[in-house]
Symmetry: C2
Amino acid sequence: MSSVESVDITMANSVAAGTNKATRRIVASGIGGKLMGTKSMTQVTAEELARDSVAQLLAKDKALQQKYKKEKHISEQPWTSSNWYQHINWLNTALVLAVPLVGCIATKWVKPTWQTLALAFVMYVASGASITAGYHRLWSHRSYRGRLPVRLFYALFGASAIEGSIKWWGHSHRLHHRYTDTDRDPYDARKGFWYSHIGWMLLVPNPRFKARADISDLVDDWVVRVQHRHYLAIMLFMAFIFPALVAKYFFNDFWGGFVYAGIFKSFFIQQATFCVNSLAHWIGVQPYDDTRTPRDHVLTAFVTFGEGYHNFHHEFPSDYRNALKWYQYDPTKVIIWITSKIGLAYNLKRFSQNAIDQCVLQQKQKQLDKQRAKLNWGPQLGDLPVWEKAEFFEHAKNQKGLVIISGIVHDCSEFLTEHPGGQALLKTSFGKDATVAFNGGVYAHSNAAHNLLATMRVAVIKGSGAGNNTYDQQIKALAEKTRKLAEKAE
Amino acid sequence: MSSVESVDITMANSVAAGTNKATRRIVASGIGGKLMGTKSMTQVTAEELARDSVAQLLAKDKALQQKYKKEKHISEQPWTSSNWYQHINWLNTALVLAVPLVGCIATKWVKPTWQTLALAFVMYVASGASITAGYHRLWSHRSYRGRLPVRLFYALFGASAIEGSIKWWGHSHRLHHRYTDTDRDPYDARKGFWYSHIGWMLLVPNPRFKARADISDLVDDWVVRVQHRHYLAIMLFMAFIFPALVAKYFFNDFWGGFVYAGIFKSFFIQQATFCVNSLAHWIGVQPYDDTRTPRDHVLTAFVTFGEGYHNFHHEFPSDYRNALKWYQYDPTKVIIWITSKIGLAYNLKRFSQNAIDQCVLQQKQKQLDKQRAKLNWGPQLGDLPVWEKAEFFEHAKNQKGLVIISGIVHDCSEFLTEHPGGQALLKTSFGKDATVAFNGGVYAHSNAAHNLLATMRVAVIKGSGAGNNTYDQQIKALAEKTRKLAEKAE
Ligand code: HEM
Ligand code: HEM
Ligand SMILES: [Fe+2]
Ligand SMILES: [Fe+2]
Ligand SMILES: [Fe+2]
Ligand SMILES: [Fe+2]
């Protein structure tokens, strides 16, 4: 009888990496390819790729990984005065640090006007939304389908944020989700706040932890392909020239547009997006899952166009929403919803409320279990000595304060003065079985009283069938009694 | 081998009722005894009592209860035009309704001055606090010990609230706690908001449900005895004459003092105290116990000098506090605390934080269990058919979408288009065992994914030892793998 065939892990992994397809794998050519580390991570350019088959690509990855298994890659070597420059990814550093620096210097000559600042803000919103609603929720997570106009807009204004192409961004983001908090996570939060914020871009990544994710669905979209192939040109135009021209045309302030609606706008969007990788993995609560670092925080949401409910997002990545409640700040969700209302987006994906409530409940249960463990519930029945009745008499002779309730022996000597029901009643019960009296014969004690009683347990009476939850037993016995009374009355 | 002697219920009940003692049982003589129903409920006056022994008292109760078991007591007869006046406890009605009415009429001639209103407020606070800190938390619940000055103050100013003597008030309040929400509860919330607010005082109570609580500790205090014996005189003086004299002496406004600092002051305190029995059993939350009607609400607290956290109070009656958190309104707790700081009170009782946290936790667990029951967790393992491997192949032939994960067969056909990890990977797993791939071989799925998976269960593979919580299994397997890798690396 043949056993059930298991999924072939290597094959499945190649499917998950998308290396099983000979589809058009385009990697930015020339300088574009080098951009944003595409080059260094995949070490291939479009030309080289055309020649290599996918299998060779995989073989190359393997070879690199083997090589750096023995040899120490620069990223694993300590920083020394001689090798410090090799650690740095100079291209990214230029784009993310040098350019804004230039912008700061330029402010000496180029003064902001309120019109240019207004334009900068508009550009900020348009490009920011293109990253969150486009790069992230449309392309990386396929949480909805976008029609051409919307895809074109996001592709153009997304490029103006100088965060790399949709293809590159989507690929590293899918890796981030699949390998969250591990070495293969491109912006691994475990490596520190600044690493996950910006360090990962400025440093040369360790090829040993290179990974691939299937982005064939992205590459099938010509908008993605074109944006990726001509990324450099589109980026330079949309990030700097376009805003400068608009500023020139409307309020004759080319350089104002270039510096404020160009350089600074991109700087702020980059920092906002970086916060999703840093802030959102550091501050806030974890209502849906606490096994990984992502967290929910309204502050992160404000800074990142609503990408602040990251604990929810990592647990339910293909949901187009980031914030569920109406009062939670998620303008991106609203933008997506509006585009769907005007027919530019459709098939907005949501996880079922059932699935979401399940996670919330499981997390609450975990918190409760933690708190429960911290409280004193008294000894468990299993840990108590078992006494015959005779033994009880023996002990009761020289130990005052022993009372049997629900088959369990309790030492209530220290409780005498504290008993809300007074000392007399408790004293009358010493050395006796007070089950009926305690459970309603005299007074139906509260749940708190049963909890208190449990802390005084010293032994179990043999064959008494004692149960741990004596309060439930009281409730059941009382219900039984009332039911019998009602029957007799009829 | 003699069995363990059980507590004698009748004897214990007589101890709980205090009828086992021949201590000085004083019941207000004459008109005082009639007051506040003391008379009607116990049908004895001090003189009669002196003659009767406790046993006869009990026999009388029994006889009354037997008598009204057959005959219908007025309280069990419907209201008719001929018997309506028999339903009413005219004395209480006079004190609680008629007197305030007189006050309202008097306002035509007696105009309030701000001084008299200020005096009225001071009297309101002094008498109100005497009820909550004195009658209730000191005497009824013994939640602390009070020195003579404090006891005298509370006895005098408590009488001015016209709510009966300490002895009478304490006795009915102890019954309220012991028999909450049952027929023997003097102000049983189940009989409706207005009944528990004021109805119970204005109507003749049903002797069938007469009950007794041990108040021997109260009667041992001469302050209680004196206040009870001379209640009428003390009440009339402190409620009306004293404030009138003070008003006359300071601002020559005898009748103003009489009406506002007398009649109205008492009216408002009575209504405030009545709210503890009505409002506190109707509005608010139940963080400590939900098997009985008492509730916590800040509104009730404002109206009742801080007796608003009634859910806490009924669960922890001998705690001198009603509100635990600093921001919760409980001036009575503060008064008690202050009197203890100036040496006029001591032995302030508190339940342990452990006991309190236990109740909160158990209530939260109940809420969670209720929510859990409402969610769809998919079929339990026990309810699933058990398939041999051969059966799985059989089914998989004509039913696309069957995947085995962790020894459980799932039908994932409808999930194909929804799978965040894409269709390709899921398709490759159809008809196969995808345990390793699903649990980290390809991607370590989230807890949400495992919850989702559980809703697609259709069968269990024989002898697979499948467990209900597949996510825990994944976590354990991954931890095991990392541990082995670490060992190998050393
Ligand atoms: C053996 C351990 C006992 C413990 C730990 C205990 C605990 C308590 C507690 C916490 C209360 C406050 C009200 C409540 O929470 O329900 C209470 C009240 C009371 N208990 Fe006990 N009790 C014990 C034994 C007994 C026995 C054996 C009797 C009677 C034979 C008794 C009779 C009463 C009565 C009559 C009250 C009501 C007092 C009132 O609410 O005014 N208790 N007890
Ligand atoms: C059989 C039922 C399956 C269910 C219910 C399921 C569910 C999910 C869910 C909810 C996610 C979103 C991320 C997460 O919550 O962890 C996900 C992601 C993923 N799944 Fe599955 N999955 C299934 C089968 C598989 C199989 C058999 C494979 C591989 C052989 C697979 C590979 C992946 C991958 C690679 C991702 C990561 C996508 C990303 O986070 O970007 N899944 N799956
Ligand atoms: Fe993240
Ligand atoms: Fe994401
Ligand atoms: Fe109450
Ligand atoms: Fe009380």
